[in-house]
């Protein structure tokens, strides 16, 4: 072969070529980009929190993120891992924001610190860090705090549009003749600045039993006008869980960016609707109608942002569906018959523990799978 003298051909030098097995190219998605997209999807929820609860919401989010990131770095320092190594992937940021969304806007900084310790150290790092934790860190923190500090965790502040005469459900509550009976029964705690609809529902059944009287009172907190306020987020509760509208916006973003499996929100919310609907149909005095269950408490936030946590939910679509149905049943059982008004975080933790079992049950069959018996000699 005659060398072309005019053009100097440049050819690859063998010794500089990298030798490694296929595939040689890679999708651009990384853990960091996934986490940042999750943060992006949380922005509508954060915005709703700030809108309804003011700058206090931002303060809580700030503390939670600060403590979560700081505690992760502290742990990594003492564990001999690179201090910035795991903070850079963004998962701690997600946990921090999620933890804040699960707290009241009135939460003090030291509660955030405790929450951070529970979430990052107990929820995540003791198991070996990101990807190794069996339980959702934010749920661990919420449940831990709820048990340790019930008073701090249930001190709610009224949402922006809630005044004695505007807020439909508390107006209903305060004007109902039974309010005095509740007060006499000692069920209305002093200093409760604002009750959540779910705790009102529970107090109602505690005081009035499961009869017609309770059903009548449910109508005061579960009517179209109240539903509309709940849907917008105009009620007491954690700063990130009240606005179904904002959560749906974030949820659509998560689904559009393919960050969560649709099976989890759909089957979770669907099961809660069916189950509570059935109970309400059979015994109207036991629990309010299904729409009330969907729009109040932490269900929406959990269905889109908590139960869908990749690390702690089943890896297959079928497993995710089973997981979500069982979550729905568990949530309803705790809400309706349990000691706490809200059962979302508890059921998430319980179901997290069952994920390995669910994955065994929901094992997918390989393409072309045939039973060993049908094949001579087997595979």
């Amino acid at each position: 072969m005659t060398q072309d003298s005019k053009v100097q051909l440049m050819l690859p030098k063998g010794e500089e070529l990298l030798l490694s097995p296929s595939p040689h190219i890679h999708d651009k998605e990384s853990i960091q980009s996934i986490m940042l997209k999750v943060v992006l999807a949380m922005l509508p929820v954060v915005a709703a929190g700030v809108y309804f609860f003011g700058l206090d919401a931002l303060r809580v989010i700030g503390w939670c993120v600060f403590f979560c990131v700081g505690l992760e770095m502290v742990w990594c320092f003492f564990a001999g891992k690179p201090v910035l190594g795991t903070v850079k992937d963004g998962s701690t940021l997600v946990t921090g924001i999620l933890l804040a969304l699960n707290l009241s806007a009135a939460t003090s900084w030291w509660v955030c610190l405790l929450g951070g310790i529970l979430a990052i150290w107990l929820g995540k790092q003791v198991f070996g860090g990101l990807g190794q934790n069996p339980f959702n860190p934010a749920a661990v923190a919420r449940v831990g705090l709820l048990i340790a500090l019930p008073r701090e965790l249930t001190t709610w502040v009224p949402a922006r549009g809630m005044t004695a005469d505007l807020n439909s459900y508390s107006k209903a509550f305060y004007t109902t003749p039974d309010f005095t009976r509740l007060q006499e029964a000692g069920q209305v705690v002093d200093g409760m600045t604002c009750a959540t609809p779910l705790s009102l529902a529970q107090t109602t059944t505690k005081v009035l039993g499961h009869g017609e009287q309770a059903a009548y009172n449910f109508a005061e907190i579960a009517n179209p006008e109240a539903y509309w306020q709940y849907f917008l987020g105009n009620m007491g509760g954690c700063l990130g869980e009240t606005s179904a509208l904002a959560i749906l916006a974030g949820g659509v973003m998560l689904l559009a960016m393919k960050l969560i499996r649709w099976q989890i929100p759909v089957f979770y919310i669907g099961t809660v609707a069916l189950f509570s609907g059935l109970v309400n149909l059979l015994w109207p005095g036991v629990t309010p109608p299904p729409l009330f269950h969907l729009l109040t408490g932490g269900l929406m936030l959990a269905a889109f942002f908590m139960a869908t946590d990749m690390v702690t939910s089943p890896i297959t679509p079928k497993g995710a569906a089973i997981f979500a149905v069982m979550l729905g049943i568990m949530t309803c059982v705790i809400r309706i018959w349990g000691g706490f008004p809200e059962g979302v975080s508890f059921s998430i933790l319980l179901m997290n523990a069952l994920v390995p079992l669910i994955e065994k049950i929901a094992a997918i069959k390989p393409f072309g799978f045939r039973k060993a018996a049908a094949v001579k000699g087997g595979a």
Binding site: M1, L9, M10, L11, P12, K13, G14, E15, E16, L17, L18, L19, S20, P21, S22, P23, H24, I25, H26, D27, K28, E29, S30, I31, S33, I34, D89, S91, G128, G129, L130, G131, Q132, R261, M310, V311, S313, I315, T316, E359, A363, I364, K365, P366, F367, G368, F369, R370, V375, A379
Partner: protein
């Protein structure tokens, strides 16, 4: 672009590389490489037994003359790519990173054909005659595996085969050789398809193509009636061209675990193979050259070239004008399943569908972090396995668990590693487990 008037089918799951790199060489017509001074034909090119060399150093050979004869049923003949003198039988850098035995031929510049077997009238001769000719001409699967074609055409008699699928999926990013062949040698593809159908004695013969090659589909559709060959469009999804996935997409049949296409009555052959078969039957021409895509961002002029088997990669790169900048990787085949090379002296083989150079920045580096169980590998796995859980088992050397979780079903398409945001070397781990398990199974047999 006009919508295609054909059925579009697909397998389930898989991945979709966003920028497939095909635009680099898609519109470049096939050019024939000029004659070189020297060719080095690797002896063990095919799956199965390497053929037995029948020439000696110093011997004069003609173009198309037999260099090595099959040493068994699963073995393919080798022929001289040009006329000249056998320089010797030497060890050269092989495509698998270890030295390979090769026949070095010094070209005499005349490129003279030797005596070729007579043309056959494919419509009148028997299937057995056609198969014998295909074996005689050393034809192997040109899509990548280099499995001797006549073996595929001879399934056990108890297996009724009724469908011949010609694989024009070309689902590997960057590669466009099959695309150009279908576009420019439409008639040969259809003729080869019809001959393959006749040789296997099947009723249905279809060419299956991903719809990103709409022009090829239209070209084939325009002539397919004459050859009684069907044309099927397929969704652009990797690995659409993997044998089991292709059969499922086209026929809806699932090749059982551990089984072969013949178990569901199918045979799959590549479009390049079909062209080689057409040449072998109608002209007696052995497989001594093939169309290869020389491409990649660092390449000066990416294109599709007709290269003789035995052309060193470095000569092929000269044809493409060399490189603009130092590449990070040299790959024989496509970026998803091809083999990285250290030496540019490796020669082109019968199954070299592409010579690909990748920029340093484009190479995937595996700095694995723990699995976050996002499920992207599960959603990408064309075999419906659980790639990441498998890779975790293998990391802990739990081969028995991996075996029980069907690791042996993996087709090693690499979709899991491609999709993994934690950059885990999933398919690489699976290959390790498969090798370990095969070893221990062989050990047990002994």
């Amino acid at each position: 672009m006009k919508p295609l008037k054909i059925k579009i089918v697909s397998f389930k799951k898989g991945v979709h590389p966003r920028d497939d790199g095909k635009s680099l060489s898609r519109s470049s017509a096939i050019r024939t490489a000029p004659l070189l001074e020297r060719y080095q034909v690797i002896v063990g090119q095919n799956i199965g037994l390497p053929p037995r060399v029948v020439v000696k150093a110093g011997e004069e050979v003609k173009k198309g003359q037999l260099l090595a004869e099959p040493s068994g049923f699963v073995s393919a003949a080798l022929h001289s790519p040009t006329s000249g003198k056998i320089e010797g039988i030497i060890d050269i850098p092989g495509p698998m990173g270890i030295p390979a035995e090769a026949i070095s031929i010094l070209a005499d510049g005349k490129d003279e054909w030797g005596e070729l077997p007579p043309p056959l009238d494919w419509q009148t001769v028997s299937g057995e005659t056609l198969k014998a000719r295909i074996q005689e001409c050393g034809i192997v699967g040109m899509g990548g595996a280099a499995f001797p074609s006549h073996v595929k055409l001879s399934p056990p008699p108890e297996k009724k085969v009724d469908c011949m699928i010609i694989n024009g999926a070309e689902c590997e990013p960057y590669l466009t050789a099959d695309h150009r062949v279908m576009l420019e040698e439409t008639e040969k593809v259809l003729l080869g398809a019809a001959i393959l159908g006749k040789a296997a004695g099947v009723k249905n013969t279809v060419v299956a193509i991903e719809v990103n090659k709409a022009d090829a589909i239209e070209a084939l559709l325009a002539r397919s009636g004459e050859y009684r060959v069907g044309v099927v469009g397929m969704k652009v999804q990797y690995p659409q061209g993997a044998e089991k996935q292709l059969i499922y997409a086209v026929t809806g049949r699932k090749v059982p675990t551990g089984g072969l296409p013949a178990d569901v009555g199918c045979i799959v052959q590549n479009v390049g193979t079909a062209v080689a078969v057409a040449d072998a039957v109608t002209g007696g021409v052995p497989l001594i050259e093939r169309v290869t895509t020389i491409t990649g961002e660092p390449v000066v002029t990416p294109g599709n070239w007709r290269l003789k088997v035995g052309t060193p990669v470095v000569e092929a790169l000269k044809l493409a004008g060399g490189v603009k900048r130092d590449p990070g990787k040299l790959i024989l085949g496509g970026p998803m399943m091809g083999f990285a090379q250290r030496s540019t002296d490796v020669p082109v083989m019968k199954n070299t569908s592409g010579i690909l150079l990748l920029d340093k920045a484009a190479i995937s580096q595996y700095q694995a972090s723990p699995c976050i169980r996002c499920g992207r590998c599960v959603d990408g796995c064309a075999m419906q396995l659980l790639p990441s859980p498998l890779s975790c088992m293998i990391e802990a050397d739990r081969f028995q668990d991996a075996y029980e979780n069907n690791v042996m079903d993996c087709i090693e398409c690499g979709s899991c590693s491609f999709a993994c945001p934690a950059r885990r070397p999933i398919v690489q781990q699976i290959r390790r487990a498969k090798a370990e398990i095969r070893n221990s199974l062989n050990h047990k047999k002994k």
